[in-house]
Amino acid sequence: MQWWCSAQGVAWEWTWRAYPGVWLFIALVGAALAYAHRRSGVRTQPWRVSLMAQGVLALWIALDWPVGALGGGYLASLHMLQFLLIALVAPPLILLGIHEEVWDRLARRAVPRWLTAATTPLLGLVTLNAVIVLTHLPAIADPMMATQLGSFAIDMLWLASGTLFWWPLVAPVPARPRFVPPLRMGYLVLGIMFSPVTIVLVAVLVFNEHPLFATYELAPRVGGLDSVLDHQIAGLLMSVGGAVITLVGMTTIFFRWARESEGVHGPDANRGVHRPA
């Protein structure tokens, strides 16, 4: 039995398989979120619970059978879907779902210096893009995807770098009064949609004559999908998926900004004691 999805080199079958490591990880994430909220002693609003549940669900879908298994060793396109879900969808949903009281508790305890340093926008931008480069270099990615530990490391790097990237945008702690909405929108555009790293990777995936990753080129075919086409779909997914996520993020930031400028307060208007007025 495998504990984490990785490339196996055996023919794909639409027969469900268990990945206990994934379940354990998802259970730990859920338990950590529940514990943090229980300690804060507040009743979390349903919309926040829903956001967190969606974030955890996105993680679960990305890591477990069939998406995790197909992305881990058969289809580059699903590998890219995994990246989008793990790094760009799950972290903002989970962070947005965290109750303001949990953030307040963190702020009251004096934010650790390492957290302030680790969640600066510049570091988030650099870390996410560095991780995208590293985990998409064939010389590194192919051998890593062949082992469960390697696949686990890739998934965790995506989750960690995605969390660092979204933290300054979504989390109110530590307060960053100079990181104003226009800068936030620019950060999103530069970090995802028009990131030079993303642009180059998309171009390589879409326009390369031959498949980039040996893992997917030599994997048993799934549904007769050609390996080059599979890589092209992966590139398009990254491009379109990244653009959609960026636009949704920018729209959200813009409307919140507009609401705050007009003095209209939303459900989390009082959230984050250190938030700029």
Partner: protein
Amino acid sequence: MRTLPRVLLAGALLLVLTACDRGTAAERDANARRVAETGLYGHRLDSARVVPAVTLVDLHGTSHDLAQLTRGKLSLLFFGYTNCPDVCPVHMTNIAAAMRAFSWARRDSIRVIFVTTDPQRDTTERLREWIGSIDSTFLALRGSQAALDSAQRGLGLAEAMRLPGVHEGDYQVGHAGQVLAVFPDGTVRYAYPFGIRQAEWVHDLPKLLAYAAAGDAPASREG
């Protein structure tokens, strides 16, 4: 502040440790050595093997002597079956993709031959459909079990054998996984095991053509 560098360092270490799989590194070294020695990703055979004279039938019902068929131009010969879940479709689609990178003239100077090791299920219709979905210029051949066994034995390949399938009543066929490069004189000089990539075929095929035109493999010429 000291925690952050430690976390980043641990992440980088994990990345390096998992990327440096010894098997893969050894494989890369062997590939590099082989390319340096022969200029090809293909494995040079210690001694050339002669394609045996066995009769096989193409999709039009025409009989061919395999030994005669492989003469005159560079041939890539592979034994597999259409229900193969992994090696066969990957090998054949990768060769087809590599061939698409060449001009028609160059493509015409290479003959790709697929011989089924599962004549019971691989009917002419089934073979036509399968090979047509990959590249309709590839030749697909069938033959009697005796002819197939004789061909594989003559080429020094392990004879294909039936293995139990995943589902009841189903079966798989265990067979040699390498594509053989047959020179125009009817001798096999190089073998391409499973794992050869499209870009490597694109690299090797023009060189194989050059070696084939020169009538011999490079090491012999140099020697």
